[in-house]
């Protein structure tokens, strides 16, 4: 009996799929084309904090200023470094050695489009997020009143605040608005893939094009890695071995699917050797792809979009070459001089 049990679901599944195809029913539903990944024209900003050059300039100075940390040793750029694709290249963030379930530093590139920030979505805007690293004990370990007092004591900041907001008053709202404004200006360079989407057939290799087909077809990466940023800004348990509940710790326990769920990261401008995943558990794209092929740990919370599949070595290479075509290179940054 045992030896006959295996073919049943296979055959039934195959026949059911064939039958559904004849009946015109498809769970795949939507057709994806390269135009679905076309870059937007402008950069969005909320009506409560419209993007201006002066605010972005102030925000840039604040972003690189280590005096926003209690011991003057850490700035936003310490962990979101321009030469590290606006992350830190580390498995775990600096100072998190004794933090339970520390998570890898996400990039701040293309954050203007985010609707939920942090791996668990606990911040709903860049303005709200900007406070968190400043006040987190193992990061900048400061408090907002002290930050304000310190910035007020730096005369060189007065004209920057005045230019950005009309007067030199320093407060939490202005600090976070300026930081958010600068972060909104960090947009990925045009990548070879973008030129291909725009019509230049020679912009990416044939292997990359094959990878795109796999990405949107057989491998169904596009189920979550969609839009021009290759993320759905949503949360999924992808079956990783972890004790970290992720978004599950932020939503009611009845929402089973959010346990061990983390935000889908963008695939643009990835550091070639990782680290990847929320905990930096993987160091190469080949390993990442193999994880998705197997589908990870089966549990009640595992995303319904996790559907195991199998690729050949050549197909994996195509997929990797496609992801590499999403790299527009490092952003050119003119480092600000620190006000005195």
């Amino acid at each position: 009996m045992k030896m006959r049990t295996r073919p049943v679901p296979c055959l039934m599944g195959l026949l059911l799929v064939m039958n559904m195809a004849v009946a015109g029913i498809s769970h795949a539903g939507e057709t994806v084309s390269k135009n679905d990944f076309r870059r937007p024209e402008g950069v969005p900003s909320p009506s409560s904090n419209p993007l201006t050059e002066d605010k972005a300039n102030l925000g840039k100075t604040l972003f690189f200023d280590a005096r926003l940390s209690r011991d003057n040793n850490m700035s936003c750029a310490t962990c979101h470094a321009p030469d590290k694709r606006w992350s830190d290249g580390r498995l775990r963030p600096l100072g998190s050695e004794h933090v339970t379930n520390a998570r890898r530093t996400p990039t701040v590139l293309n954050s203007a489009w985010l609707s939920a920030l942090m791996w668990d979505g606990r911040a709903s805007s860049l303005e709200a997020q900007a406070v968190l690293p400043i006040t987190t004990p193992h990061e900048m370990n400061f408090d907002i009143p002290s930050v304000i007092a310190r910035l007020e004591s730096i005369q060189g900041y007065r004209p920057l605040f005045a230019k950005a907001f009309g007067d030199a008053t320093v407060n939490k709202k202005r600090i976070t608005e300026a930081l958010a404004s600068f972060e909104r200006t960090l947009v990925s360079n045009t990548a070879p893939f973008d030129r291909w989407v725009a019509g230049d057939e020679s912009a990416i290799s044939e292997r990359s094009k094959h990878g795109f087909k796999l990405f949107t077809g057989k491998a169904q990466c596009v189920s979550c890695h969609k839009s021009w940023r290759f993320t759905d800004d949503s949360f999924h348990d992808i079956g990783l071995r972890t004790d970290d509940l992720g978004r599950g710790a932020k939503v009611p326990p009845q929402v089973t699917l959010m346990q061990y769920a983390f935000k889908t990261p963008s695939l643009r401008d990835l550091p070639i050797n990782g680290p990847y995943m929320h905990d930096g558990a993987m160091g190469g794209l080949n390993e990442v792809i193999k994880h998705y092929e197997k589908g990870g740990i089966e549990r009640k919370s595992r995303s319904l979009e996790m559907k195991p599949f199998e690729l050949t070595d050549a197909e994996r290479l195509s997929l990797i070459e496609f992801v590499q075509a999403l790299d527009g290179g490092s952003l050119k940054v003119d480092y600000p001089s620190m006000p005195e």
Partner: protein, 184 residues
């Protein structure tokens, strides 16, 4: 500051995908297609059984177990809370209206109705991804509308004493958001 609480959520095991579709289909226009699919499934089962009898080739579990992912249960067959609490099986109140909305991709499509107290709002997931909608009441109360696989319909009945802004969002996809004002 308002404190969020969970109201009206029941934990009850339900069947897998076919069962879930059947639970909801009686209220959707997909009724015919669902029945057709069920009929086809029975036919397929019969055909598969006949094929197995004819083709009694032995399969080695050692060879197939590691690669045969289809043999494993799908995540959609796992246990999720029942949607009964939200009114799907409760008759519509006298004088109340049934409104329909759709989820497409990552957004709730625009609606034109103005809901009133006791009305019911049904939301059909026409995307190809799973959603988990919830409603935040003006007092901060949060009501889950449960996991919604593609094709599923969930519903929310406007409370008898509703007044103010009710916000629909998705736990999985925070970008999904709809504000609905209820006034008597």
């Amino acid at each position: 500051m308002r404190k969020a609480g969970i109201k009206g959520v029941a934990m009850k095991p339900i069947l897998g995908r076919s069962g879930r579709v059947a639970v909801n289909a009686h209220k959707t226009e997909a009724l015919h297609a669902t029945h057709l699919l069920q009929l086809q499934s029975w036919m397929v089962t019969l055909m598969a059984a006949m094929l197995l009898i004819v083709c009694s080739t032995a399969y080695s579990e050692d060879v197939h177990d590691t690669k045969n992912h289809a043999a494993k249960p799908e995540a959609s067959e796992k246990v999720y809370p029942s949607r009964a609490v939200q009114g799907v099986v409760t008759p519509l109140a006298a004088g109340a209206t049934l409104h329909k909305m759709t989820l497409s991709h990552h957004e709730l499509e625009a609606w034109s109705f103005v809901p009133k107290r006791k009305d019911r709002i049904e939301i059909e997931n026409r995307s190809n991804i799973t959603h988990a909608l919830y409603v935040t009441y003006p007092d901060g109360t949060v009501v889950n509308l449960e996991i919604q696989i593609p094709g599923d319909v969930v519903s929310w009945t406007v409370p008898d004493d509703a007044e103010g802004e009710y916000i629909f969002r998705c736990w999985i996809h925070p970008v999904i958001r709809a504000n609905m004002t209820i006034s008597e």
